[in-house]
Amino acid sequence: MLTATGLSCVRGERRLFAGLDLAVGPGEWLHVQGENGAGKTSLLRILATLSPPAEGEIRWHNEPVAALAEDYRRAMLFLGHHGAVKEELTPLENLTLAAQLDGTTLDAATALQALVRFGLRGREDLAVRFLSAGQKRRVLLARLAVRKASLWILDEPFTALDVKAVAMLSGLIEEHLAAGGMAILTSHQSMPLPNGKVLSI
């Protein structure tokens, strides 16, 4: 259960939003809407503890996230504009190394299975820089599938995806929610997912 109360964000001299409250429970997802520059990304970065809020508090299962530190970071997965995918490494290496940096191990079979699921069969050993933009995003989807986290914070996850990949991602998120996970997403288009709570800033 993630709750935030009275969040505000100041960028430079501008106050992007103030007094923002939100709550996401198991099996729920939150759609953060807003115009360009309204502070969607800033909100997600605050929720991910990348930047501190100017005011307000974020709680995870009723404990302040600042006190939880590692435990919160283990339970949460944040994907920003950039994919955190290394161009020089192969999709397989990317997946296993990312898991190791998180302090977990990922066996090759599971990683391979995830890559195949997202249509990257035959590309596992090709450096990512030889993949197309859409295929690079699919590597990220595979990472979502293998990383065990109960809270997903995804910034514009549907950009640069073709119809098939959009279906795959929404399937993945639905699966995650059905298993009691939580998700916070931003997007300026309408979401191909049912029953979301909407937060407009």
Binding site: L50, S51, F78, G80, A84, E87, L89, L97, L101
Partner: protein
């Protein structure tokens, strides 16, 4: 510990895939050192005297060359954010990256230095001290440099600014490092210099990852 080894392995793997960057710094080092005799003249007495200083200054510059790219690629592709959000403490991951940086830039310099020292007619004892001093000094350069690299991350004119910030902080390493060989040659013994260098290294090992981590968090805010 597991993830520290993972990040060292990852950075070494990346360096292997982008060999040109590592090799450029290395050849830069070789060329700069080799240019000095051409500018100064071939008298071996003079060359012996300037050798430690020349090799050390070139090592500083060669280290600077790769520093700007220590965190920049990770920053650009979002890996740095994932490192900050990793359950592993950021300080450990940063320490791992610094170790990897040293293995790809510092260690080759240490291994090459005796070969270049021969160009300057240094005897065997002096070469040994030179290698020892570089072995203690180059990790220090990577550690201090990492602070500068983190501070200038994503900043306008970062590369030039980085050298402005970092080079003055390299002064003690330069003095004790080059001084070790000199005092050995003049018969005073290099022990004092080397132990001071080791003391600086110990201080930097504690202090630099902390400062680098703080600077990285600020850069990402």
């Amino acid at each position: 510990m597991h993830s520290v080894i993972a990040i060292i392995r990852r950075d070494l793997l990346l360096a292997m895939r982008r060999k040109s960057e590592v090799l450029t710094a290395l050849f830069f080092f070789i060329i700069v050192v080799s240019l000095f005799p051409l500018g100064i003249g071939p008298e071996s007495a003079l060359l012996r005297k300037i050798a430690p200083g020349v090799i050390w200054v070139s090592a500083l510059l060669a280290t600077m060359l790769g520093l700007a790219r220590l965190f920049a690629p990770d920053h650009a592709d979002g890996t740095l954010e994932q490192m900050v959000l990793s359950p592993t403490p950021l300080g450990l991951l940063v320490a791992g990256k610094i170790v990897a940086h040293w293995i790809t830039t510092g260690l080759p310099l240490v291994l090459l230095a005796p070969v270049l020292g021969i160009q300057f007619d240094l005897d065997r004892g002096a070469l040994g001290i030179l290698v020892l001093a570089l072995l203690l000094g180059t990790p220090l350069l990577s550690l201090i440099g990492a602070i500068g690299a983190a501070l200038t991350l994503g900043v306008r004119g970062g590369g030039v600014l980085l050298s402005l910030l970092v080079l003055p902080l390299y002064v003690p390493a330069l003095i004790f490092g080059a001084g070790a060989v000199e005092s050995h040659v003049s018969g005073l013994g290099a022990g004092g210099h080397l132990s001071l260098l080791a003391a600086l290294l110990a201080l930097a090992v504690f202090f630099a990852p902390w400062a680098t981590t703080a600077a990285l968090r600020i850069a990402l805010e």
